[in-house]
Amino acid sequence: PAVLARYCLALGDDALVFSHRLSQWCSNAPDLEEDIALANTALDLLGQARLLLARAAAADPALVPALPEGSPVPPEDALAFFRDDRDFANVRLAEVPNGDFAEVVVRLLLFSTWRLALFEQLAGSRDAVLAAVAAKGRKELAYHREYAARWFLTLAQGTDESRRRLLAALDGLWPLWPELFSTHPVEAAAAEAGVGVDPAAVAGAVDAVVEQVFTASGVTRPERGALAGVRGRFGRDGAHTEALSRMLAEMQVVARAHPKGLW
């Protein structure tokens, strides 16, 4: 159960953190349709995050931060709002600060392609809750991927400016890609136990999908190396970029100001 809990927390944090970045687009998108689409994606991921954090808390209540006696804060919120950045297990791709619209398109393409592959496997998890979350989530992720791939093609072939921005975004995010396929001990243990997926096992399939989008768009794969961790530790280990603690300062401020608050 400790492995299951930590595994659900990792997948939940990916969704929670990237959902937050997407929610920062609210009222800032290039057009109303995109504002709606990005909010919708943020909502889908937020929904996944809530189920996964709740599963994590149920599987191992020791994970949930202690709150003042009598606090009505539910476990999902205790996990979301009362952990520090070093206790978040999300990959760094989820947390980097927003750039322009090309950046969100590329990030969403990479994130949803990867996560969809994981969820397709996870639909067969021995943990029934996780399997159900994955079964529901894969439809959402397939839609996100479609949306991102469509815009990837559009920006790649739209104007010189859009292509320039798309390539710059891809170049900037590419160093974060390998981290998604480096197996963390928790993932290895979860795969071993039949509840989770080893991301390295889906690397080939995921790469083929991304390559297909690149080819259709006339984009060549960047050659940037992987972004190093800190002492070999990555996002899953709680070693994040400087951006995460800033993001959490904003995200958690009201909840933390009212540890006994009822919302």
């Binding site: 929670l16 609210c26 109303l32 919120d77 995200m251």
Partner: protein
């Protein structure tokens, strides 16, 4: 247009109004009716779009994941409302692009309420309860408005607004069951939004010169003061149930009128806000302008891509 004489068309238009039937985009309509409608619908669309900002201000600080989902969904609905309403304007021959230009250059207005800042999470609830509540009072009669696409958009919008209003009220109810600090937040928020909410119905009837014509055209169904009274009567018992006071010392039940007597908002403040000096006017328009300007290259790319696709399709067609 040239086939039928104008007096005849005008008679047909008037007859439709008399029957309380709907005018549709292809029907003939007086230019002044069209212009008034475009202005009113555009102002409403702009209000939805600008209205995303004061609530959006708290999306990233929502204190629970459930509240974050509710708020994000609500702001998303507002974008949707903006879309329907711009579409209704497009049936009248005015493009979204044109209207957006007017919004960001300050030539068209939006509801003055959004020129007030949101200063605590309680404001999210108060906006749902009071601001959406006032909007519903304004909008329910518009479901029966004479112009078809506008009336149909309003039916959908009102349904969603009612949902938002209940959600806002429920947030406040929940906070009132929380800590003392939370209760103080709710009261402080209601104190700030009460008068601006009353201003949402526009100036007193005596100062509202266009009301009569809009009512004759079936674009408006009630006067400002009628709607304001209705809102106050509806809201006072809700405030009591919530356990907050409304910041109006004159507020009392008038047994004779079977309605509440209430004080007048500060109309000088209202004029100041409408004329552009409200606490957030410049900020709201600058935010919209920035987002619009920053998105220009995306919209251009989409247009260029669509043109290339169309050209490619045509070429393929030619070759066949």
């Amino acid at each position: 247009m040239t086939a039928t004489a104008e007096p005849e068309l005008a008679e047909h238009f008037e007859a439709t109004l008399r029957r309380n039937d709907r005018i549709e985009p292809r029907d003939w309509m007086p230019e002044a009716y069209r212009a008034t409608l475009v202005r009113q619908i555009a102002q409403h669309a702009h209000s939805e779009v600008i209205g995303m900002q004061p609530e959006g201000n708290w999306v990233t600080r929502a204190p629970s994941l459930r509240r974050k989902a509710v708020l994000l969904a609500k702001v998303q609905d507002e974008a949707g409302h903006g879309l329907y309403l711009y579409s209704a304007c497009e049936t009248l021959g005015t493009s979204r692009r044109e209207l957006t230009e007017k919004l960001i250059s300050g030539r068209q207005k939006y509801s003055s309420i959004f020129n007030y800042p949101t200063l605590s999470y309680a404001d999210v609830g108060t906006i749902g309860w009071l601001v959406d509540g006032a909007a519903i009072c304004n909008q329910v009669p518009l479901c029966r408005t004479s112009f078809g696409p506008y009336g149909r958009a309003m039916i959908r919008i009102c349904k969603e607004e009612s949902f938002h209003q209940r959600q806002g009220y429920e947030l406040l109810m929940t906070m009132m069951r929380g800590t003392d600090e939370q209760r103080a937040m709710v009261q402080e928020s209601v104190d700030r939004f009460w008068w601006p909410a009353l201003m949402m119905f526009g100036p007193p009837d005596a100062d509202s010169p266009n009301t009569e014509r809009s009512m004759a055209w079936g674009i408006k169904r009630n006067t400002n003061d009628e709607l304001r009274q209705k809102f106050v009567d509806m809201t006072v018992p809700q405030a009591r149930a919530l356990g907050v006071t409304l910041p109006d010392p004159e507020l009392r039940w008038d047994e004779q009128r079977q309605a509440h007597h209430f004080g007048q908002p500060d109309w000088a403040e209202f004029k100041q806000v409408v004329s552009g000096n409200g606490p957030c006017n410049a900020q709201r328009v600058a935010h919209r302008k920035r987002a619009h300007d920053e998105g220009a290259w995306v919209r251009e790319a989409a247009t260029a891509f669509a043109a290339k696709q169309a050209a490619a399709a045509e070429e393929t067609g030619d070759r066949r």
